[in-house]
C-alpha cells in the first residue's frame, strides 16, 4: 500500500537555494582576495560590485570576485560591507 504523501506532516518548508556561506579569505590592501580557505588565488577573473536595497533594513553593499584557485577550481567570493565579512557563493 502506498502512503498518502499529503498526509505527511513533516513536509519541509521552502528552502533558499545557493545561500552564501561564510568563508575564510585573506585579502591584499586593495581588498582583492589572495587566498580563499587557505588556498592561494591563482587568478581573479572578474570583479563586480553590488549596491542594492539601501532603502530597506537589509541593505546590500558587496564587492564580488570570481576567482580561480591554484587547484583549478572556480569560486565566487564577496566581501559584505554591512556584515564586514567574506562569504562564498556558487557562480
Amino acid at each position: 500500500m502506498v502512503a498518502d504523501s499529503r498526509a505527511s506532516s513533516a513536509s519541509p518548508s521552502p528552502r533558499r537555494l545557493n545561500v552564501p556561506r561564510p568563508v575564510l579569505v585573506e585579502a591584499g590592501v586593495d581588498g582583492v582576495p589572495l587566498s580563499v580557505s587557505r588556498r592561494a588565488v591563482a587568478l581573479v577573473r572578474e570583479e563586480w560590485r553590488v549596491v542594492d536595497r539601501w532603502w530597506t533594513e537589509e541593505p546590500v553593499f558587496r564587492r564580488y570576485f570570481e576567482t580561480v584557485l591554484e587547484d583549478g577550481s572556480c569560486l565566487v567570493v564577496f566581501y559584505d560591507q554591512e556584515r564586514r565579512s567574506w562569504l562564498e557563493q556558487r557562480a
Binding site: 577573473r45 572578474e46 570583479e47 563586480w48 560590485r49 549596491v51 539601501w54 532603502w55 533594513e57 564580488y64
Partner: protein, 1073 residues
C-alpha cells in the same frame, strides 16, 4: 590636459540632471567637483539634448576648466552613441541632429511624448566636425549592433570614431570589453575609456537609483534591471581611471589627446545674429526712424509745445543710443511682431467686435520707459508725460539685448505664437524652454512612490509640506507619528533624498511666452523640439541660457486680466449696447478710489490679494501715481528691503501733515527716493541709488540689478558690494551708511517691479476696478470665463459679487451657453463650468437647446451618461421641471444610442423608442447640505447658502461673524469661523502664516504666529472649515485675528450634514508662497 601632473584622463561621457531622471547632479555641481578633482576639461553628454550645455560651459570656464560640448544620442533602434563637438560646423550639425531626433516625438497633442530617435543615415550625413564614440556599456551601438557601428566607423574615419570602453563594475564587464577591443581592432579604430558619469558625488548615486525608479514609474524594488546595480557612476578622480581600466592604459590616455582635439568653445563661438531688417534702399535705423516719426506727429500734437519739445529731444537721444548699440533691427523686429499681432487680433476678435479698437497687446516691464517703444506701439504709457526713466531699459554700457515684454489676451497670444513661428520659419524661431524643477510636493510624491511608502501617508505629508524640499525631514519629524516613521530607513531615505533632489530639473516645458528669432538657422545654434501644443516648438535652452547666448528674446505673455477686460467690454456692448473705450474713462473717479481705499477689491488686477488689501486700508491710494507705488510695494523686493512699513507710516504722516519731510539715509538719496518717501520701491531706484550714492555708471548699475535677479550670480553680488562701498566712500559717504544702503538694495534683490512696469499694471488695476464698480455682473462673468487667474477661486469671486448684489444663476441646459454669460443683468453659469463637461460638449449641448425633458436631452446629446448625471446634480436640469433625484431615476431608464462594436465609437445603433414602464417612485428631496456639497463637487462653487450660514447656529457660543468685527474692540478675544479661501506663508514673513477665511458675510484675515502654526499645522493646511480663537487686532481700518487656537469644523459639518465622513468636496484653498 592634466598630463603634466601625471594625470591622463578627461571625462568624455557625463550626464547631468538635464538627462531628465537619468542624472542626479546640476551642471555646475559637476564642473565644481571636476575642478576639485583636478580635471582640466570635462564633457557634458546628456541624453538627446544640450539643455545644460551652456550652463556647464560657463560654470566650467569660471573654474578654469575647458568645457566640451556633446550629447548621448538615441538612434532609431534605441541604441546610443556619444557625439562630441570638434568645431563650429560640428556644433551646428549636432544641433541639427538633435532637432531631427526629436522631430517625431509629439505625433499627437496631449499625449505623452515618444522617445527621441535619430536615423543612422542622418548621423552619417551630418557627421562633419563631430567625433563619435560607440556608446555606453548597456545600450551602446557597438554592443547592440556591431555591424551598424562598423558603418559609422567607416563614415567618420579612424580619426573621429572611437570604440568606447566602460567599466561600470557589473558582472560581464571583462567579456564585453574584450569583445569591444576585438571590434576596434577589426575596424582599425582606437578605443577610448569613459566613466558614464551620472552623479558628481557618491551621495547623489542613491538619488540616481531613485530617479530611475521615478522614470520607470515603479518602486525601487521593481526596477533592478534598469538601475545601475551599484554606485560606480560617480565622477572619479583622474588618477582612479588607470585603476579602473588596468588593461587599457592607452584608452585612458587617449581621452586627453581627444579632449585637445575638441576645441570648440560654446561660450564664444556661437555666432548668433538677430534679424537686421536693413534693405539695400533703407538701413534698419532709417526704417525705425520712419516708423517713429509717423507716430510722433499723432502722439505729440503741436498744440502742446513744451511736451512736444521734451519728447523730441528724448526721441533723438534714444534713436542715437539705439544706433550706437546697433539695436535698430531689434526694435524693427518687435514692431513687426506687433503688426503680426494686429492681424491676429483682427482675426480673433472678428468684425464688429467692440474689442476692435483696442491695441492687440500692451507692454510691461522697463520697456514702458522708452519713447521708441511708445511710438512703435510696444507700450501704451507716454514715458515723457509719466516721467519714466530709460536707464534700466537702454543704456550705453549694455552687455545684452534689452527686454521687451508684451502682454496679450490669451486667445490672441495662442495664435500669435504659432504665427510668429510660421512668419520666420520653423528653422529660425522657437519658444524658450523652461525646466520644471523639483519642489517639496512633487519630490515627496515621486520619491515616496519610488521608495514604496504607503500612498495615503505620502499624500498626507505632501499636503502638509511648506514647499522647501530641504525641510521635509523636519516636517516628517513634526508629524504625530514622526518618530515611528523616522525609525524606518525608507522614511529617513525620503527625508534626505528630498533634500538632494531639490531644484533638479524634472522635465522640459515651455516658457510662458519667450520666443527667440534668429537671422541664421536657429536649429544650428540650439536644438529645437516640438512642444506639447501643436504648432509650437521650443529650443532646448531656458531664458538664462538664451540670455548667456545673447539671443534676442521676445516675450509674448498671456495675461488673464487682459482677456477678462476685453471679454467684459464685449459683454457690455452685447447686453447693454454700450461701447466702452477704456482709454477714455476718467482716471480719477472718486467712487472707484473709495472702493480701493476700503480694500473692496476682490477680482481687481494686482490689488486683490490678502496682503494688498491689508496695505490698501493703510495707504489709501488716491491717484494712478499712488496705485503705481501700491502695485510695486507689496512685492518681495520692497518687503525684504524693509520699505513697506516705513512707506506706510510716512504716507500716513504726510496725509496728516503735508509739509512732513521723510528721513533719508544720506542727502545724496533725496532725489532718487523723493516720490517714494525715502524708501526703495521700484527696481529703477536700485540703479538710481547706486549711481547717486556710489557713483556707478548706468551700465554698472544695470549690471548690479542683473546680478541681483539671477540665480547664478551670488559671487558677482559680493564683488559689486566692494565696488559700491569704495564708490560711496569716494563720495564722502561713511562706510556704515553705505553698507546699510547696499544691504537694503541686496535684500530688495531682483524681486521688484520697475516703475514703468508698475505704471502699466496700475493702469490695468484701475481699469479692472472701474469695470468692477460700474459693470459688476459683466466683470464677474468675464473673470469666471478667464479662470484660472488671480488670487481667489471662482467660489469666492461669486460670493463677493453676490454680496455686492450681483445675481448669479445656476447652469441650465435650456438657457446656459457653453461659457458663463450675462442674462438680464444676472450672471448665468455656463455648461462648461460643470465638471467633466468639455468645451466642445458644452457647445454641442447649447446648440441643441431647447430640450423638452430628460429623455430628450439624453437621446439627442452625445454626452456620456456620467456627465449627464453630473449636469443633473449641478442643477443644470432643474428647468426640466422635476426634482433632481427623479431626473436621475429617469435618466437611468432612457434607452440611448449605443456605439456599434468595433467601430471605434464612429457608428451608433439607434435607440429603441421604448417608454419606461415603471412609474418614478416618491424620492426624498436633497437637504441643503447635500445640495451645497453637490454644487462644490460638480462646479467648484455654490450659489445656495454659504456653508457657514448653515453652520452658524451650531457654532460654539461667542463665535462672531465677520460683519460683527467692526463693532468689537481692538485686542478683544474673539472666535471666528469660516471656509479657508487662501493660505500664505510668505518667505518674507519670518514663519508667520496668513489664512483668509470666508463666511456668509465676507472675509476675515487670520494671522498664525510660528508657534501656533507649528502646533496646528495639520489643521491649518488640510482643513477646509476652521474655527479660530484669538485676539482681534485693529490697525487703522485693517482688522485681523491673531490666532492662538484652531479647531476643525469638519466634525460639526459632518454632523449637521448627516454624513459618515467630513465633507470632502469643499473647495481646496489656494496656497501662496
Amino acid at each position: 590636459m592634466a598630463r603634466a601632473a601625471g594625470l591622463t584622463y578627461v571625462e568624455l561621457h557625463c550626464h547631468s540632471a538635464y538627462s531628465f531622471l537619468d542624472g542626479a547632479s546640476q551642471p555646475e555641481e559637476l564642473a565644481a567637483r571636476a575642478a576639485e578633482l583636478g580635471y582640466e576639461a570635462i564633457a557634458l553628454t546628456d541624453h538627446d539634448g544640450l539643455y545644460g550645455s551652456l550652463e556647464l560651459a560657463h560654470a566650467a570656464k569660471a573654474l578654469g576648466l575647458r568645457p566640451i560640448t556633446g550629447a548621448e544620442v538615441t538612434l532609431a533602434d534605441g541604441s546610443h552613441v556619444t557625439l562630441l563637438v570638434e568645431s563650429r560646423r560640428g556644433y551646428a550639425n549636432l544641433c541639427r541632429l538633435l532637432t531631427r531626433a526629436h522631430a517625431g516625438t509629439r505625433p499627437k497633442e496631449g499625449r505623452e511624448p515618444l522617445p527621441p530617435a535619430l536615423p543612422l543615415e542622418a548621423l552619417m550625413e551630418l557627421r562633419e566636425g563631430l567625433v563619435c564614440l560607440s556608446g555606453c556599456a548597456r545600450r551602446g551601438l557597438a554592443v547592440r549592433d556591431p555591424s551598424a557601428a562598423a558603418q559609422l566607423a567607416r563614415a567618420f574615419g579612424r580619426e573621429r570614431f572611437y570604440v568606447e570602453l566602460q567599466r561600470p563594475y557589473e558582472r560581464g564587464d571583462a567579456r564585453r570589453n574584450a569583445a569591444l577591443r576585438d571590434l576596434a581592432q577589426a575596424l582599425g579604430v582606437s578605443t577610448v575609456a569613459t566613466g558614464n558619469v551620472h552623479a558628481h558625488r557618491p551621495c547623489r548615486a542613491f538619488l540616481q537609483d531613485a530617479l530611475v525608479a521615478i522614470r520607470q514609474r515603479s518602486p525601487l524594488e521593481a526596477c533592478e534591471q534598469e538601475r545601475r546595480g551599484n554606485h560606480e557612476c560617480v565622477l572619479m578622480a583622474p588618477a582612479q581611471a588607470k585603476e579602473r581600466f588596468p588593461d587599457d592604459p592607452d584608452a585612458v590616455a587617449r581621452t586627453a589627446f581627444l579632449a585637445e582635439q575638441l576645441e570648440y568653445d560654446l561660450t564664444c563661438e556661437l555666432g548668433y545674429r538677430y534679424p537686421d531688417f536693413s534693405t539695400d534702399s533703407e538701413p534698419a535705423e532709417a526704417r525705425l526712424r520712419r516708423i517713429c516719426e509717423r507716430a510722433f506727429v499723432e502722439r505729440y500734437p503741436a498744440s502742446d509745445k513744451a511736451l512736444r519739445e521734451k519728447a523730441r529731444s528724448r526721441l533723438e537721444e534714444e534713436l542715437r543710443l539705439i544706433c550706437e548699440l546697433g539695436l535698430a533691427g531689434f526694435f524693427c523686429l518687435h514692431h513687426e511682431v506687433l503688426e503680426l499681432a494686429r492681424e491676429v487680433a483682427e482675426e480673433v476678435r472678428g468684425p464688429g467686435s467692440p474689442r476692435r479698437a483696442l491695441p492687440p497687446g500692451r507692454g510691461r516691464g522697463s520697456s514702458v520707459g522708452s519713447i521708441v517703444c511708445y511710438l512703435t506701439g510696444l507700450s501704451h504709457v507716454d514715458p515723457v508725460a509719466a516721467d519714466l526713466s530709460l536707464g534700466r531699459f537702454l543704456n550705453r554700457e549694455m552687455a545684452s539685448c534689452p527686454d521687451i515684454d508684451l502682454d496679450f489676451p490669451r486667445d490672441i497670444r495662442e495664435r500669435l505664437i504659432v504665427r510668429v513661428i510660421e512668419r520666420y520659419g520653423r528653422e529660425r524661431a522657437a519658444l524658450v524652454a523652461s525646466f520644471s524643477t523639483y519642489h517639496a510636493r512633487g519630490a515627496i510624491r515621486d520619491l515616496g512612490k519610488a521608495l514604496g511608502l504607503p500612498g495615503a501617508e505620502i499624500e498626507q505629508l505632501a499636503r502638509l509640506t511648506e514647499g522647501d524640499p530641504r525641510r521635509v525631514g523636519e516636517e516628517l519629524a513634526s508629524l504625530p507619528d514622526g518618530r515611528r516613521k523616522l525609525a524606518s530607513r525608507r522614511w529617513r531615505a525620503l527625508a534626505w533624498l528630498c533634500a538632494e533632489i531639490a531644484d533638479l530639473p524634472r522635465h522640459v516645458s515651455q516658457h510662458p511666452g519667450g520666443m527667440v528669432v534668429s537671422s541664421q538657422p536657429l536649429v544650428e545654434l540650439v536644438p529645437v523640439q516640438p512642444a506639447a501644443m501643436a504648432g509650437r516648438q521650443i529650443c532646448q535652452w531656458d531664458k538664462d541660457s538664451c540670455a548667456d547666448a545673447g539671443f534676442l528674446k521676445i516675450d509674448l505673455l498671456g495675461l488673464g486680466m487682459l482677456s477678462a477686460v476685453e471679454e467684459c467690454m464685449e459683454l457690455i456692448a452685447r447686453t447693454r449696447g454700450e461701447a466702452i473705450d477704456l482709454s477714455r474713462i476718467p482716471l480719477d473717479d472718486p467712487a472707484v478710489y473709495e472702493e480701493i481705499q476700503r480694500a473692496d477689491t476682490v477680482g481687481a488686477f494686482q490689488i486683490e490679494s490678502r496682503a494688498q488689501m491689508q496695505s490698501l486700508l493703510r495707504t489709501r491710494p488716491q491717484s494712478l501715481d499712488d496705485l503705481t507705488v501700491q502695485v510695486a510695494l507689496v512685492r518681495p523686493g520692497p518687503i525684504q528691503g524693509g520699505a513697506v512699513h516705513p512707506y506706510i507710516a510716512r504716507r500716513a504722516r504726510r496725509r496728516r501733515d503735508p509739509s512732513y519731510k521723510p528721513p533719508i539715509d544720506h542727502p545724496l538719496l533725496a532725489e532718487p527716493l523723493r516720490e517714494t518717501l525715502g524708501v526703495v520701491v521700484f527696481q529703477d531706484q536700485v540703479l538710481e541709488v547706486a549711481m547717486a550714492l556710489a557713483g556707478f555708471t548706468v551700465g554698472e548699475a544695470e549690471g548690479l540689478r542683473r546680478a541681483m535677479s539671477r540665480k547664478r550670480s551670488r559671487e558677482a553680488l559680493e564683488a559689486y558690494r566692494e565696488r559700491f562701498l569704495a564708490g560711496a566712500q569716494a563720495r564722502g559717504v561713511d562706510p556704515a551708511t553705505a553698507s546699510r544702503v547696499y544691504d537694503a538694495l541686496a535684500a530688495f534683490s531682483g524681486f521688484g517691479f520697475p516703475k514703468s512696469h508698475a505704471a502699466a499694471f496700475a493702469l490695468l488695476a484701475y481699469q479692472s476696478a472701474w469695470l468692477r464698480r460700474y459693470y459688476p455682473a459683466e466683470f464677474l462673468c468675464a473673470l469666471l470665463n478667464a479662470q484660472p487667474m488671480g488670487f481667489y477661486p471662482p467660489a469666492s469671486l461669486v460670493r463677493d459679487a453676490e454680496r455686492r448684489a450681483v445675481r448669479v444663476l445656476p447652469p441650465d441646459v435650456n438657457r446656459s451657453a457653453a461659457a458663463c454669460s450675462v442674462e438680464e443683468g444676472a450672471v448665468r453659469i455656463g455648461l462648461a463650468y460643470v465638471q467633466g463637461v468639455g468645451k466642445e460638449e458644452a457647445e454641442a449641448l447649447a446648440a441643441g437647446q431647447p430640450y423638452a425633458d430628460i429623455r430628450d436631452l439624453a437621446q439627442r446629446s452625445a454626452v456620456a451618461e456620467d456627465t449627464l448625471r453630473t449636469l443633473v446634480e449641478a442643477g443644470a436640469c432643474d428647468c426640466l421641471g422635476q426634482p433632481r433625484r427623479a431626473l436621475l431615476w429617469q435618466l437611468g431608464l432612457v434607452p440611448r444610442p449605443q456605439a456599434v462594436p468595433g467601430s471605434g465609437g464612429r457608428a451608433h445603433q439607434l435607440a429603441l423608442p421604448l417608454q419606461p414602464v415603471t412609474e418614478t417612485p416618491e424620492l426624498l428631496e436633497e437637504t441643503p447640505w447635500e445640495r451645497l456639497l453637490a454644487d462644490y463637487r460638480t462646479m467648484g462653487l455654490s450659489l445656495g447658502p454659504h456653508p457657514l450660514a448653515l453652520l452658524r447656529f451650531q457654532l460654539p457660543a461667542g463665535a462672531v461673524a465677520s460683519a460683527e468685527l467692526d463693532r468689537l474692540q481692538h485686542d478683544q478675544r474673539v472666535a471666528v469661523a469660516g471656509l479657508v479661501v487662501a493660505r500664505q506663508r510668505p518667505a518674507t514673513a519670518k514663519g508667520v502664516v496668513f489664512v483668509l477665511l470666508e463666511d456668509e458675510h465676507g472675509l476675515v484675515n487670520l494671522v498664525l504666529p510660528p508657534p501656533v502654526y507649528e502646533r496646528y499645522r495639520a489643521l491649518a493646511r488640510g482643513e477646509p472649515l476652521l474655527l479660530a480663537y484669538g485676539r482681534l487686532e485693529k490697525v487703522g481700518r485693517g482688522r485681523s485675528v491673531v490666532v492662538d487656537r484652531l479647531e476643525s469644523l469638519g466634525p460639526l459639518a459632518q454632523k449637521a450634514a448627516g454624513l459618515a465622513a467630513s465633507p470632502r468636496p469643499l473647495p481646496q484653498a489656494h496656497d501662496f508662497g
